[in-house]
């Protein structure tokens, strides 16, 4: 499986219509909120996280990916009753790492995307755990199996979602 980028085409950035940049995070937040209401199991899927990862690995600009991750995370925080910044910090970190890795890794490959999404979901969980447990002093439920299943589900959904988002890519 080719993990490392081997051609200029693979490391080149992609461009998308501006509307996609705006609509995708909003749609992800809205769907996440709506679908969790009707399907309880949808809680384990984190659509805003998937959008952050996709933006990072395709845009490949750590700076913008950090800012976009923070913005999406803060928006996600705003829908909860927690303090703003918990998801913001976690998604900033994820966006930064995703964009940094996107330069070095072939992110066109579905297998790579699967593994990256799995890993980034665990990274976000770890950051959230650290923030809530050790910085805010809140009790956090932690179950390894649950977190691994959650990461696996997000990775599978991410592969499908990324393929759909690829269709919106601007042809060059």
């Amino acid at each position: 499986m080719p993990l490392m980028a081997s051609s200029r085409h693979e490391v080149g950035t992609r461009s998308y219509p501006f509307l996609i940049y705006v609509l995708t995070p909003v749609l992800a937040l809205g769907l996440q909120s709506l679908l969790s209401l009707h399907f309880t199991f949808f809680d384990v899927i984190d659509l805003p996280l998937l959008v952050t990862i996709y933006y990072g690995i395709t845009k490949r600009e750590p700076m913008s990916a950090t800012v976009v991750g923070a913005a999406i995370g803060i928006a996600q925080d705003a829908l909860t009753h927690h303090a703003l910044g918990i998801f913001g910090i976690a998604k900033s970190v994820v966006g930064y790492i995703a964009a940094s890795l996107g330069v070095r890794v072939d992110t066109e490959n579905h297998g790579t995307r699967l593994m990256l999404t799995f890993a980034f979901t665990l990274v976000q969980t770890a950051v959230l755990f650290l923030l809530q447990r050790h910085m805010l002093g809140q009790p956090v439920a932690w179950h390894w199996v649950h977190e691994l299943i959650k990461a696996a589900v997000n990775a599978l959904v991410g592969v499908v979602l990324f393929a759909l988002l690829d269709q919106t890519r601007r042809r060059e």
Partner: protein, 462 residues
């Protein structure tokens, strides 16, 4: 220096963004005792995001409801007729049950008035659609499609007919955030119905409501219902919360936590009610319901009792269609009233009427407090010559028989104080329909215990 910034630009941006958010977090996090309300900037961000996300949610939700409505209202109507029949039968049964509960409610009101207890009654609710959630496992909040414009403010109780859901937290123009009882930061005062143990309800880390920090008690069993205690000044008293699922030891001490199965299905909420107005006085509609309950139940009972069509039933005396009180005695010549096609069931007349018989005692509202039934009957009956037979009026004192005073039925004495205790009750003066002679004597417990009759009154149906 310039090369350092240009080389580490990305990392510096990351650090800056993280630092800014950490500082923001630090300013938002307060000590547990302070108010959970947000400051202006944070509230503004929440309002923007909710304003951005909720309109599409509202559209999608209403679209889904429309499709479902077409199916349920026009296509899926099988068995509706049979269901209607079943519901009608259930309604009859509930009316009978309601009569008993109404009596308990009256009694409870009287006792609460005596104790100076102030209960909260629900005056007004606003129905709302649930349009979204937080979308995360860590935060158990809902979004409803009603907000400030609909009269909703923070800290209002949100319920369903099954039980409580939570309370409003952040309220925006057309949307409100509801903190569910399953969230860790929620709280509600609750009481267990059987054991009367009170406690505070919180959600645990896994999103299950639990009563925390209780002393171990063997009486707490699975399945025991739990209701709100009304002590938190948010949820009115007596609303269903859930049932006890199991008792688990508190990890931080010798106390126990009681896990509950919530009465409301918190995972499948579609419509909720927000209690926007609650007060200390029972609403007029509820008072009227209580008043009507016994009357309706009597009618149902009268229809079902076999004595209704019993040819051996005692004849109805003409002119006795008011409250059902048999004013005449056994000496009155029976006269069949053919004008009444369906006479209500009447109790048998006493074989040996005396001053303790219901037929010989003046109406309760004419009796004087503090006087014996026998002595009060004479002056009270003087104003109303019809109910009391002349032979009874002439008896100024109780009969000197030694056996009777032990079995004194004191029921008529109770209503003397009854109109003062419960003035809103409107059933007594109305009584427009013929009813069984069972008088409405809701407070027999107010008579002194020494005079409580061990035997039944002569009004009992045969």
């Amino acid at each position: 220096m310039e090369s350092f910034f240009s080389r580490n630009r990305n990392a510096l941006v990351l650090i800056t963004v993280l630092l800014a958010q950490v500082v923001g977090l630090a300013t938002q996090v307060r000590s547990p005792g302070t108010s959970p309300s947000d400051k202006g900037g944070v509230r503004l961000i929440r309002a923007w995001v909710v304003g951005l996300v909720s309109p599409p949610e509202r559209v999608l939700h209403s679209g889904g409801l429309g499709v479902r409505g077409v199916w349920t209202n026009y296509l899926d109507l099988i068995h509706v007729r049979q269901q209607n029949k079943n519901l009608q039968a259930e309604l009859d049964a509930l009316r009978l049950e309601e009569a008993g509960l109404a009596e308990d409610a009256r009694q409870g009101q009287r006792l609460q008035a005596l104790l100076g207890f102030r209960e909260k009654y629900i005056y007004k609710t606003v129905a709302a659609q649930v349009i979204g959630t937080s979308g995360t496992e860590q935060s158990h909040v809902l979004f409803i499609d009603k907000g400030l414009k609909d009269g909703i403010t923070a800290d209002m109780a949100v319920i369903t007919p099954d039980g409580i859901v939570g309370k409003t937290r952040d309220v925006f123009e057309h949307t409100s955030q509801v903190l569910e009882i399953s969230d860790e930061t929620s709280g509600a005062g609750v009481i267990m119905v059987n054991t009367r143990i009170q406690g505070v309800l919180h959600g645990n880390s896994w999103g299950q409501p639990q009563i925390v920090n209780l002393s171990p008690d063997d009486r707490i069993k699975a399945g025991e219902p739990v209701v709100t205690s009304g002590g938190d000044s948010i949820y009115p008293r007596g609303l269903a919360v859930g049932t006890v699922e199991k008792v688990v030891p508190d990890p931080e001490g010798t106390l126990v936590n009681v896990l509950l199965k919530p009465a409301a299905n918190l995972e499948k909420l579609e419509e909720v009610l927000v209690i926007t107005n609650a007060g200390d006085q029972m609403p007029a509609g509820m008072q009227q319901d209580l008043s009507d309950a016994q009357q309706r139940a009597s009618e149902i009972l009268a229809e079902r009792l076999p004595s209704r069509a019993d040819p051996n039933a005692p004849p109805v005396v003409a002119g006795q269609t008011g409250t059902g009180q048999v004013s005449g005695s056994a000496q009155t010549p029976p006269k069949l009233d053919n004008a009444l096609p369906t006479p209500p069931p009447k109790p048998p007349l006493p074989i040996h009427p005396d001053r303790y018989s219901s037929t010989s005692v003046a109406p309760a509202d004419e009796m004087v407090p503090g006087t014996a039934a026998g002595s009060a009957a004479a002056p009270a009956g003087a104003g109303t010559p019809q109910p009391t037979p002349p032979a009874e009026k002439k008896k100024p004192a109780p009969p000197p028989t030694g056996t009777e005073p032990k079995a004194v039925p004191k029921k008529p004495a109770a209503p003397v104080s009854e109109p003062q205790q419960a003035p809103p009750e409107q059933t007594a003066p109305q009584a427009p329909k013929p009813k069984p002679t069972e008088p409405q004597l809701p407070a027999p417990q107010q008579t002194p215990p020494t005079t409580t009759p061990p035997a039944t009154t002569p009004q009992g149906r045969s």
